[in-house]
């Protein structure tokens, strides 16, 4: 809490996450695209909760809605739910070993898919194909790498300053 990482690292990672959401991927992989933006948000909400909270989640979600032209507010809702859960279990999540943390993130991402399914049901738009349920699993596998990478980037930035 004493030393927050440089803002460009936070916002830069969010920008990358936004671009990743719409970068073209081949057909079957595209549906199982891991929700990188939510994972980044979870990381920052876990590490610097005073800077990245529900407000950031909401604003980022609306931005993501605009960029990937989803129903306005859909991703905002998903992000807010995700960050709220991270905040609730933050004390435990932070001190989990990495594999256990990955498991917890996987559960959060699965919950996120459930939220999507609910929203689609209420709005009446078609349900995503079953492949999209692989996205949380991919996200879970990706989490340790992302975590270590971001930790290293923060360390590097701190050393430099």
């Amino acid at each position: 809490m004493i030393r927050t990482p440089t803002p460009w690292l936070i916002y830069g990672s969010f920008l990358l996450g936004l671009v990743f959401a719409i970068i073209p991927l081949p057909e079957p992989v595209g549906a199982a695209r891991p929700y990188l933006l939510a994972m980044l948000l979870a990381y920052w909400a876990m590490e610097i909760p005073l800077k990245v909270g529900l407000t950031t989640a909401f604003v980022l979600g609306v931005l993501a809605d605009l960029v990937s032209s989803t129903l306005l507010g859909e991703q905002a809702l998903r992000m807010v739910v995700l960050v709220f859960l991270v905040q609730r279990f933050r004390a435990r999540l932070r001190f989990f070993p990495l594999w256990q943390q990955a498991l917890a993130i996987g559960l959060l991402l699965i919950n996120d898919r459930v939220v999507v399914a609910l929203i689609h049901m209420v709005v009446g738009s078609p349900q995503p194909s079953w492949i999209s349920w692989l996205a949380p699993i991919l996200g879970m596998v990706l989490w340790p790498w992302l975590f270590v990478l971001l930790d290293m980037a923060r360390l590097r930035a701190r050393e430099r300053s």
């Binding site: 970068i23 695209r33 960029v67 507010g73 809702l77």
Partner: protein, 310 residues
């Protein structure tokens, strides 16, 4: 909130921490309702095009770079071969067009004899696609041209296969098109073989269209080709839309539901054709009563500038 650093009073902790959550959830839901019900999302996306534009061009840049590199480093022999093949294709295509021109003229004459007005002067323009993956549950495309380039809402899109969709949102230098397979999309079609008119709806899956409410006695079968009927005036008549892949009864067993495979190449292409169709006069309402012979009918034949000018 339950942070180690912060130390709020314990009593109101849980009540206070859910308050902002509820606030944001309400806001997000309000946004969704506003977008879904009243289409405010379109306005928001138009206003925020300045923000989304850079993201789109950034995300599509790897594919663009790849395409450029492939062209830049292509071998001379490959290019020659490519060139040869294209020339061959062009010759074939122009031969076919010459034959078709005769048919068009004949068709025009026949239509004028009938006093029909269903014809359009067809103008086509090639537009690039911005290569990005939008929301996978909505079938949309981003076009690399906008209102500055003369794109308008409602213009039809085709590719070499058939009807692709129509433009629904236009910003200054980008436009969004709704594909025929989007669940919000419907296109008036006609079975080429029997002339049966119906409507093809999108399903949200990029390889399927659905045609509900077909009477059981209707002349339609598997393998039939669907073409646009031109009714409604948005899509010019005669472009292929899809092929019937199967027929099934609806829940009440009163009507038949047909499934179709879209004719257009919906998986990524580089470019699409944007049609400026200038509707001359559209057949609306019941057919005109038959006048006694000798009386001049006021059918707008004279100003019907039908035909295909490219």
């Amino acid at each position: 909130m339950a942070y180690a650093g912060k130390n709020p009073s314990r009593t109101s902790d849980s009540a206070l921490s859910t308050l902002p959550l509820l606030l944001y959830l309400t806001m997000a839901s309000a946004l969704m309702v506003a977008d879904h019900r009243d289409g405010y999302g379109q306005i928001a996306r138009q206003k925020m095009a300045m923000v989304t534009g850079p993201f789109w061009s950034l995300a599509s840049s790897p594919v663009r770079a790849f395409r450029w590199a492939r062209e830049a480093f292509a071998l001379r022999s490959q290019l020659q071969e490519d060139n040869e093949r294209k020339r061959h294709d062009l010759q074939l295509a122009s031969a076919r067009i010459h034959r078709l021109n005769a048919v068009v003229e004949e068709n025009l004459r026949l239509r004028q004899l009938l006093g029909g007005t269903r014809g359009y002067s067809l103008k086509v323009r090639m537009v690039g696609i911005v290569d990005i993956d939008l929301d996978p549950f909505r079938q949309r495309l981003v076009l690399d041209a906008g209102s500055d380039g003369g794109v308008e809402v409602g213009q039809a899109l085709i590719d070499s296969g058939g009807v692709l969709g129509q433009v629904v949102e236009v910003t200054r230098n980008r436009a969004t098109a709704l594909l025929v397979t989007d669940p919000d999309h419907a296109v008036p079609v006609q079975v080429a073989r029997s002339g049966l008119r119906t409507i093809a709806y999108g399903t949200g899956h990029s390889d399927q269209l659905v045609l509900p409410n077909i009477p059981q006695s209707a002349d339609i079968r598997e393998g039939d080709v669907l073409i646009t009927s031109g009714i409604g005036g948005r899509f010019p008549a005669g472009f292929p839309v899809g092929v019937i892949t199967g027929l099934r009864a609806d829940k009440l067993r009163l009507f038949v539901i047909a499934d179709a495979r879209p004719a257009a190449h919906l998986e990524r292409g580089n470019e699409v054709l944007l049609i400026n169709n200038l509707p001359v006069a559209i057949d609306v309402g019941p057919p005109a009563p038959i006048r006694p012979a000798g009386v001049e009918t006021k059918a707008p034949v004279a100003d019907a500038k039908t035909g295909a000018e490219h």
